[in-house]
Every structure is written in structure tokens, then in C-alpha cells.
Chain length 664, copies 2
């Protein structure tokens, strides 16, 4: 039968719709459903325990993405499912109506995927059906109804013989009555270990019972506060009299001289792709960052006791950093001029879940300048030229249990990209007998932040994967060292000069940050008119700690890459997660440091830069009950990328006047 005109029109419409889908767009709720339906229709569905731990886009190969919109690669889902104590990596074709499972790779051993929220919820209530737990709580004189529990990853500590390849999680509990602060009142000393596949408690210990800290002073809700109230300030609002300056076109964002693709991944959170800046001289967009996102967040605590030694979290690989998204609150999390985007993720049973306001975009004006100069040198004349700094911020926040993390990607018209990490939320505290600092003896492994409350020492290592493609795929990594030189003769006796080293292999690309070396990613195949290699340099903006754990310690083997802030690897589509695809109970054999041991060539190739923002955290009383923002980050700054400062030719906005505003 020949196609009817209507059918042809329908096919055309479908083609147009599919052309509008960018190859890097995250899965829609419909696509999630479609992928799950395909798997549900496969033999795998016969497993009673089938659960979906990761449902995301199967990222198309780079050439296919770069060929878009001339051609569109097939839409595919990548799914990690757990069934019958095995892990399945599934690739599912989503195209052309009837999808199909393209591949199903089965992983045994310790290839444990991120936890699903559902199984964590299920594990958290197990103690309430476990009689010894009721006894522990009763012995402490706490009503059982006041108690809630939550989960902590158990890590890997060479205890294969004990739990024999079982996927386990630790459950610990808190007195949640009388406060909104879930974590402030630990039932310290009680630890249950749950086999997640069997969903049963396999180990239980009630070891010590220091007092439960009081509820007083732990609540952070406005409604719970009593006088004397804290400082107040007059409201300050951002107003854009001509509206927003950015455009959201599907997942493409365009603003000033930038355009980029904004996506979301259940494991990584916000993902920036194809970030390109318009060269106003050339009139073309030049690629800077092919893809950038959080790859892992390693948070080890520094207390070796039975209840704490295992607290060495991999927040992306174990909990799903994207799955931990906290909806952003308009007017407080993001300013009045922000636009909010929702995202769709999958729950453990495969049904799509929408997270509202998961990402916000706004133009930031902090009152700062982009550049300025006042010239006093011309007689009888003072010249002043100033341009205010307005940037575009992409904000996303994740709350992994107690901690709140805010990740900002800030795009500047100068060509800089600033990546900011901010910490807030609640300390992970330990119940203690100590009520006063004078009582502390020996190593308490933390600071006393309230009576009977220790803020345990810990670190945060945010590792970003940055597939920089500076003006093209093939780049090199250059270290410029400032070298002191003894001056020969002359009044001046010393100065410094610069020694450049281009990293030929991965071992040279591993760098511990210091103030005397500048790090750059250059494109050796593109030069400015006066012959400098075009590039971007990497500047630390605070948070340059590295791990202090011993190399042979189990968590450090799993996060070996945290001993250097910078690693450079050749692009490999399989290398996305710094702590390995399966971080939970990982053995350290599939991570950034392990990959790099091959010492591959990285000069004039498609390379990936890994940057870790590290923070050692010694808690103090101000961090309690919710800590004020602590920030770190870094800047990718154009360095001989442009022929000159690209902002000089930016025409200033019309002379500003004071706005008259009212609340309608």
C-alpha cells in the first residue's frame, strides 16, 4: 500500500521533532518509560528482584554528536539494573517505535551500582522490625516512635571473606523528635548492616551509648526560632528592565557570546556540553568545553572507630549525585530573575520521577566590574572607562543526606568559565560523653560543636571531568613553571622566568597545585596572529586540599586520584567516573589512577582534564546546626585564546538610571 499524504505528513512531523532533539539531551520521562518497558518485555523481567539503578542517556560517540544537526545518532538508553544478585548493563534502542535491548552485559563480584532511593528507604525501616534494636533504644530510654534511621555506604575494607560479595549498606539511627534536624541527635553506638539484595539485617552491634545530644538549638526552621533574633537586612532584588538576556531553546542555552548544551545525569547532576564562545572578530563560535560535569565526590571521615571508620563516601558513585538533587527554591536559592528547569529521573522500579526546579539559570550581577581604567597621565584630562561584570550562572544543588552542595557553572563574557562548589547543610556529628572542651582527652577525631556533639573531621573532594576541546579536539597540556634566575652582573641580582613543559604522557599530566606553576590546555594546531598557541588556563579559586590518607588504606585505594588535584588522560568514552563505574565497595582497580598507570600519550590529542576541589573540614561551633556556605572552585580562563581582551569592543549599556519599582 502506498503511503497516504496524511501518513507522509506525520512522518515528516516526526522527523522534524526528532531533529529538534539534541543528541545529548537527557532522556525524557517518555523515553525512560520506553526504555523500562523494553527491559520489562525482555527475559530479565522474570527476576523477582529486578531494580533500576541508573537510567540515563547512552552518550553517542563524539563524531556523531559533532555531526548533528546534519545527521542525528540513534537515541539509546544506558540502564544499570540489578537482578538476582547480578548487575546488568543494558543498552536499549529507543528509536522508531519498537525499541529493543541492544546488549546486556552481566557483572558479578563487586560491581555494585548506585543505591536506589527505594532500597535505601526499605533498609532504613528494617531496624524497626528487628527486636534487638527496640531493646537498644529502650535501654537508652528513648521512645521508639521518636527514632528514624538512614543509610550509610559500607565501603570496602578487605572484608570479602566476611560478607562474601554481598551488597551491603549500614543503617544508623537518630532521635528525630523535637527538631527538624535529622542528624543532630545520633543514637550513637548502634550499627546495623543490611544485605540490600536480600533486604535483611546481617549484622547488628550496640557498642557504646553516650548521651543523645539535646534537641535545643538544633532546629533551623524559621518557625522554630525564638528571640533574640539574629541580624536582619533590607531586601535586595535583582531587576532586568528589558527582561532576561538568555535564551533556553530545548537544552541549548544562548547568552551574550556563549552557547552551550545543558543536560542532567542521574549520577553527575548538571552537565555542560559543547560550550562555545563567539569570536566577535571571526563571527564564529569556537568550542571550549565538549563536556563537563561532577565525576565524583569523595568524603572520608577521620574517625577509625567501629561506628565511623567506614564513612568514606563516594556521593556520585554510591548515592547518585544527580538523584540527590534538591529542588531549588525561587527567590532564595536563586534570585528573582532566574529561570528554573525540571529534570526527569527514574525511580528504582523504573517509573519516571520529575524533580521540579532542579536547575536554575540566571544572570548574575554582584556589583563588580569586568574591567576598568582611569588614566591620569594626559595633562588636564581624566579618562575613566569601566564595564560592569554580568555573567550567566547555571546552578544545581544536591543534598546527600546531611550535606548540601551547590554547584555553579558561571559563564563570563570575557571567556572565563568559573566552576564553584559550595557547602552548606548539616555536619555529620557524633554523640559523645564530652559536654565541655576541658573534658576532651586523647584524640576525639572532631571538634566539640555543641554539648555531647562532636563535628567529626572530614574532607570533601569534588572531582570534575572536563573534556576540554579548546578550539578543536586535539589539545596539549602545558605546565609553565616560574623559575628563579640569578642575574648576571647589573644592579638587579635575581628575577624569575618561565619554563614551559608540554606533557607527553599521563604521568606528566598529574599535578599537585602550587603558586609557581600555571596550568594550561592549549591547541597546538591553532595560533593567534602573533603566534601564541590558543589556550585556556586553570586557576584555583580556593579548595586545593589533597587526601592525607595512606596509600594502602582501603578508601584511599578507591580514591587514589585524590592525591593530586589535576590529571590529564586521553579521551576514552568508558572513562567517566573518577572512582570507577561501580564505586560502591569498589577495589580501586577501575578508577582514574588505575587508568592512568598505562601512562598513555596525551600530547596533541583529544584529552580530558580532571580537576579536584578539595576541602579539609575542621568543624567549629558556627557550623552548627546548619553551616554557613563554604566555597571553593576554579576558573577556566582564556589565555591567548583571543587576539586581545574580547570585552574591550563590548559596547556599554545605555547610561543606567535609578529604577522606580513597586510590588504589585
Amino acid at each position: 500500500m502506498a503511503p497516504t499524504p496524511l501518513l507522509l505528513l506525520l512522518l515528516l512531523a516526526l522527523t522534524l521533532v526528532s531533529a529538534a532533539v539534541h543528541p545529548l539531551d537527557p532522556l525524557t520521562a517518555a523515553e525512560i518509560t520506553s526504555a523500562i518497558n523494553v527491559i520489562r518485555a525482555s527475559p530479565l523481567n522474570s527476576s523477582a528482584s529486578l531494580a533500576f539503578h541508573y537510567v540515563g542517556l547512552d552518550e553517542p560517540p563524539k563524531p556523531a554528536v559533532l555531526a548533528w544537526p546534519r545527521s542525528a545518532p540513534p537515541r539509546r538508553a544506558f540502564v544499570i539494573a540489578r537482578a538476582g544478585r547480578a548487575t546488568h548493563e543494558l543498552r536499549v534502542d529507543l528509536g522508531n517505535g519498537a525499541g529493543r535491548v541492544l546488549s546486556d552485559t552481566v557483572r558479578h563480584g563487586s560491581s555494585f551500582p548506585t543505591f536506589t532511593p527505594d532500597e535505601q528507604d526499605a533498609a532504613s525501616v528494617l531496624p524497626f522490625q528487628y527486636p534487638p534494636f527496640a531493646a537498644s533504644v529502650a535501654r537508652r530510654g528513648i521512645p521508639l516512635s521518636d527514632v528514624l534511621c538512614t543509610t550509610f555506604s559500607a565501603g570496602w575494607f578487605g572484608r570479602a571473606e566476611r560478607w562474601a560479595g554481598r551488597r551491603v549498606i549500614v543503617v544508623q539511627c537518630f532521635v528525630a523528635a523535637g527538631t527538624a534536624n535529622f542528624y543532630a541527635r545520633p543514637v550513637e553506638g548502634v550499627t546495623a548492616v543490611v544485605d540490600l539484595d536480600a533486604m535483611e539485617i546481617v549484622e547488628y552491634e550496640d557498642r557504646v551509648d553516650p548521651p543523645v545530644p539535646k534537641a535545643e538549638g538544633t532546629d533551623y526552621r524559621a518557625a522554630a526560632q525564638r528571640p533574640p533574633f539574629g541580624p536582619e537586612n533590607k531586601p535586595v532584588t535583582v531587576v532586568q528592565s528589558e527582561g532576561r538576556g538568555f535564551e533556553v531553546d530545548g537544552h541549548m542555552i544562548r547568552w551574550a557570546n556563549w552557547e552551550f548544551h545543558l543536560s542532567f545525569d542521574p549520577r553527575a547532576g548538571s552537565v555542560i556540553s559543547l560550550a562555545s564562545i563567539k569570536d566577535s572578530e571571526e563571527g564564529t563560535f569556537r568550542l571550549v568545553l565538549y563536556r563537563g560535569h561532577v565525576s565524583e565526590l569523595f568524603v572520608p571521615y577521620m574517625d577509625p572507630s567501629a561506628e565511623w571508620y567506614f564513612k568514606t563516601f563516594f556521593d556520585a558513585g554510591e548515592f547518585g549525585f544527580g538523584l540527590s538533587t534538591a529542588p531549588l527554591e525561587p527567590f532564595t536559592d536563586c534570585p528573582a530573575n532566574a529561570e528554573f528547569l525540571d529534570v526527569d529521573v527514574s525511580s528504582g522500579d523504573g517509573s519516571p520521577v520529575r524533580i521540579p526546579n532542579a536547575i536554575c539559570l540566571f544572570e548574575r550581577y554582584a556589583g563588580d566590574v569586568a574591567w576598568r581604567h582611569t588614566e591620569f597621565g594626559f595633562p588636564g584630562e581624566m579618562i575613566t572607562e569601566v564595564r560592569p561584570e554580568v555573567s550567566l550562572v547555571v546552578r544545581w544543588a544536591a543534598v546527600v543526606g546531611n550535606y548540601d552542595y551547590v554547584i555553579d557553572w558561571e559563564f563570563k563574557t570575557s571567556g572565563s568559565i568559573k566552576i564553584g562548589v559550595a557547602l552548606s547543610g548539616i555536619l555529620e556529628v557524633k554523640g559523645t560523653y564530652y559536654a565541655h572542651a576541658d573534658e576532651l582527652s586523647g584524640d576525639a577525631h572532631g571538634s566539640l560543636v555543641a554539648r555531647n556533639t562532636l563535628g567529626v573531621y572530614h574532607d570533601h573532594f569534588f572531582t570534575f571531568r572536563l573534556d576540554l576541546d579548546v578550539d578543536g579536539a586535539n589539545n596539549s597540556f602545558v605546565k609553565s613553571r616560574m623559575k628563579p634566575v640569578r642575574a648576571a652582573g647589573g644592579p638587579r641580582r635575581s628575577y624569575w622566568t618561565v619554563e614551559k613543559e608540554t606533557a607527553r604522557t599521563e604521568s606528566v599530566g598529574q599535578v599537585e597545585l602550587g603558586s609557581t606553576t600555571e596550568l594550561m590546555v592549549v591547541n597546538p594546531n591553532k595560533k593567534t596572529r602573533i603566534g601564541n598557541e590558543v589556550g585556556y588556563r586553570i586557576i584555583s579559586l580556593g579548595g586545593a586540599a589533597t587526601s592525607l590518607l595512606d596509600d594502602d588504606d582501603y578508601p584511599q585505594r578507591r580514591a587514589r586520584y585524590t592525591k593530586k588535584q589535576v590529571w590529564v588522560t586521553p579521551y576514552d568514552e568508558a572513562e567517566k567516573w573518577a572512582a570507577g563505574l561501580y564505586a560502591d565497595e569498589s577495589r580501586g582497580d577501575d578508577n582514574l589512577a588505575a587508568w592512568s598507570q598505562r601512562n598513555r600519550e596525551i600530547e596533541n590529542r583529544d584529552i580530558v582534564l580532571w580537576y579536584t576541589v578539595g576541602i579539609h573540614h575542621l568543624p567549629c561551633q558556627e557550623d552548627f546546626p546548619v553551616m554557613p556556605l563554604l566555597t571553593g572552585g576554579f576558573e577556566l580562563r582564556p589565555t591567548n585564546f583571543f587576539e586581545s581582551n574580547p570585552l574591550i569592543r563590548r559596547r556599554p549599556n545605555k547610561p543606567a538610571t535609578r529604577l522606580h519599582c513597586s510590588l504589585h
Copy 2:
């Protein structure tokens, strides 16, 4: 005669007026005039060459300041004058109508004060009356009328025998035609040395003559730009619907939970004193910072050639950082909600000069949060509490020749004080034969930023003097080192703990920053209820470079303190200027490092913390013709100063709504 009632009333009124003057208020224009008149009436006036290099407040002793307003110390001026090749330090009483010179200390040798703008102007035109200069310019084919000259401090390079205690300055020249960029087109190779007291050229050299860089691409004025124009963005304005939240009461500033005194010094620029934060629990203000300001800015260039070796500037001590103030431009340098303050300084002849809009104050809202938490732990309930971050910024900018520096003091309701330094303005460039990077050979001492234009390598070291009085005058300096520990037994093999060291003497207070040591100033006499010493810690926010010059090099001897970022000294009112009171041609015998060699006791005393923000600058093409802002700074963050996070009890503003605004 008994006083009449009218006279009594008048006396009372005068007393009230004088009580309103804070002891730390800067000299008014009337007081400057009064001080100069007193000196003009003294025998010193007979010197034909009398010039005034510093006219400022003679800072009263701390006890007298702290006794205010119960009693007011006498108003006194401190004046540094130059007369007959000698330097005079004068203290002038300004009180009760007829002032008088209280003391006149004469300094000979190399006690050379900051240059006056007048004498620099005079020196800058000397070449035009010097025939060899006209010849040099003519030989280069440049019309003399296109040329302008300016001054550079000559430094001290052990050449006492050559210039024999004469106060000299270097004059170099630029082709200023065809551009507003004074510095972009050096007449490289021509150097004149001027004796400032004699005001005559004492040395002249015309050594090399590389091409003068072209004017094209050097102008930064909006009016001079031609298409294609750079990126544009929609306007963003800050609006405060209920008005500003801060109060300017004379020189006292009150905002939210902060109050402080804001002053200005011709050498230091903006000065913050008596910064105190209200403890809402106690209902009282607690002192944090008795006085803080820029003490010195050392900027050494890294080119040992004849025209460049001496370029090792001490911007505060040689040029007067405050005297270099650039008036801030409303709506661009500071946002629409800013308030501007003028300052009064003295010119070389003693007449007062008003600098308009020298300082601005504004409430900053960058769209960020102060703290947040989302709690997913309570079944069936999601709790979200977020407080936006609004802070108060005190901004001041100085332009020392080519460079623009923006100094921000940012006060946060959390108790933090962030000190930000930002660099913009114009690179000091060197004319060169090189037109392309491929031609570079040997050590060029800089980067090629445009044809025939080298951006010479250099550093910026901003040294702040911070007389912290955390909750009282007597403080200690504590270093908390994170020390790796091998775990005994147990699954965990390692962790870190904290070793605290209280600095007993100055040598222990000298610290090179690192990520494994936290630095704190504590008050060992005040503790929180749970027994922690109240304190503030110091956190680097970028810019942690130290000097790489050799210890025996002349500029490094003068700025020896730049090898460590942190120094702690016992309070001494004579120790204000890190490079010494007389920095120009100093010998390194009166500076922070020299004072500290006494290794005085600093434990539980009134101490001063010196913090240096250091930036190594390898110029790139984007820095030309005006560089985009480069920032560094540090944070003073309360650490066990409060019993808990002081922002928790801050009531949120009324729910925000979108404002409707118009331009009237």
C-alpha cells in the same frame, strides 16, 4: 570677666561638635589647612623647597580611642614634609583654635617620603627641556608633540656612591598620540633620572630603539571602538524596595549586625577600624578588628635590563596608595544602590584636594545563599530552609599609573569579613623588535601580547595590616596542623587529626600558607559555653604567591616579608608600613621582617596579623589593551566566636515577589 551665658552656650556647642568627631576620623579639609598653616607659621617655612608629602591623622593611642566617647583625645596631624634635602616628621596639635607644632623630627640619609603628585608632574616634563631627549625622539621619527612622560621609582640598588643620598626618580616616555592608552606605545630605551629635590635630570640614556608599537587596537574607550562589536547583555540592576539597609553616621557605618569606623589615609587608602559584630544572644557588640588596611603593595618586574631592572614598585610607600585613588563611577564601578563618600587629601603645597566618590558602600546580593538545607529524611515530608546572602561592601580603587586595583572589604552577617583585591587596568609593556612568537629567542622576560609588545612578567604582593582584637585586645595565634595518623588495628588504616600550636614568639607566627594548616587568631581569655577559645580563622581565597627573588637582591631586601604570606607581631604603633615608613630607596632595615627579627613574644598579647595576597602575573593577549579583572583575597571567618551559626536565628525577609519597575 565672668563668661556670659552666650559664651557658655557657644562653648557647650563646640564641645558637642568635638564629641561628634571620632578620634579616628581622617583630617577634614579644614584640619589639613589648619595643620599646614601652623607649619607655614613655623621656622620651617623659610625653606624655599618646603613640600608636604604626607598629611594625615596622627593616630591616637589605642586606650584613648577605646575611651571614646567618654573622653576624646586631642586632634593631631602627622605631617611628613621635605625641606632643604631633609625629611621632617611633624606632629601638629589641631585643638582649641591656635594649633602648634608639637614636634619636628629631622631625618637625613635615605628617609625619603612618598612622592607628591606635583613633583612627579614636574619631573615628567623635564625631558622636554632637555635637548638630548628631543634628539632621541627625533631619531625615532616621532613628533615630540606626540610624546608624554611619566615617573617610575628608581629603587635602591646599592648605588649610594653614584647618587650619594639624592632623592631620584626615573622618567620614561610614551607615544600618547592616537590612543587613550598612555602605556601601550613605549619610547623604549630612553631613560632619564631626575633629582627630585633639585628637580633636574642627573642621568640620561638612550640605549636601544625597538619599534614603537602601533596605536591600532590599544584604545579602550567605548567611543574609539569599531565593529564588529563584542558581546552584549541585557541590563541588570539591583533594587532595594525599602531603601538602603546601612547607616552612615559621620564615619561610623552600621549595617545588620556590624558596626565599624570607615576612614581614609593618603598612604593606605580605605581604613576599617573598630569592626564589631553584635552578638544577638548577648545583645552586645564584640570587637573583631581594631584596624585594618593595605600596608604595602610590592610590584617587582622580572626584567634585569637597564630600562626595567629598577621596576620594583612599593605602591603605598612610594606613590601613596590613597593618593592614587580613582574616583568611582556610579552605576559601573559600584551598583545603583551604592552610596559614595568623598575624601580630602593634601597636595604637595599643602592645599586640600577633595577626591569625589573615593569610596562606595553598597549591599551586595549576588544571587547566592548564606546557608541552606533540604531534609528528605522525614517520611512523607520535605523540609527546605534557605537564606539568601546579602553582604555589605566597602569599595575603594587606586590607579597607580597603569594598574587599577579595587580593594573590597565585605562584611557578612555570618561574621565573616572578606577582603578582596582585584587587578585591572593596563599592563606595563616593553617595546620589542619581536612581532611574532616564532621570533622570540632566549629569555624575553615577558609574553608577546601584541606586535612589538611584551607584557613583562611581574608580581603583585598586597600586604594587609590587620590589628585583630578578637573579643578584646589580648589574642594568640594558633596553627592547627592536620597530621596523618596510622590507625592501630581495625579495618581503617589511616586518618588525620589536628595538632594545635600556639605561637609563643614571632618566628612561629611566620607562616607559608598550605592546605594542611588552619590559621586562627583566638582570644585565650574568652571561651564559648562549651569551652572553645573564641577566634577567627584566616582562609585564602586565591592569590597565595610568595616572592621568588633571591634574599640578597636589593628589592627583596626591602620586601623581605614577601617570602611568607603571614606574619604576626606584637602591637607597636610605630609599625604600620610593612616596607618601612620610608619605602622609597629604603635599605630593608625598617620593615616587617626586620622588626620581627627581635622574635618578640606574641602569645596572649595585643597582636597584629600581616597577610599578603600574592599574584604571579604571566601576561597573555587577553590582558591587552586593558586586562579583565583578576582577583585574590582572603576571609576572616568566625570560628567558635559564636555559640552557633548566628544566621539561624535571622528571620527571613517577607516572601519576595517580583518587582515591577520603570525608568522615570
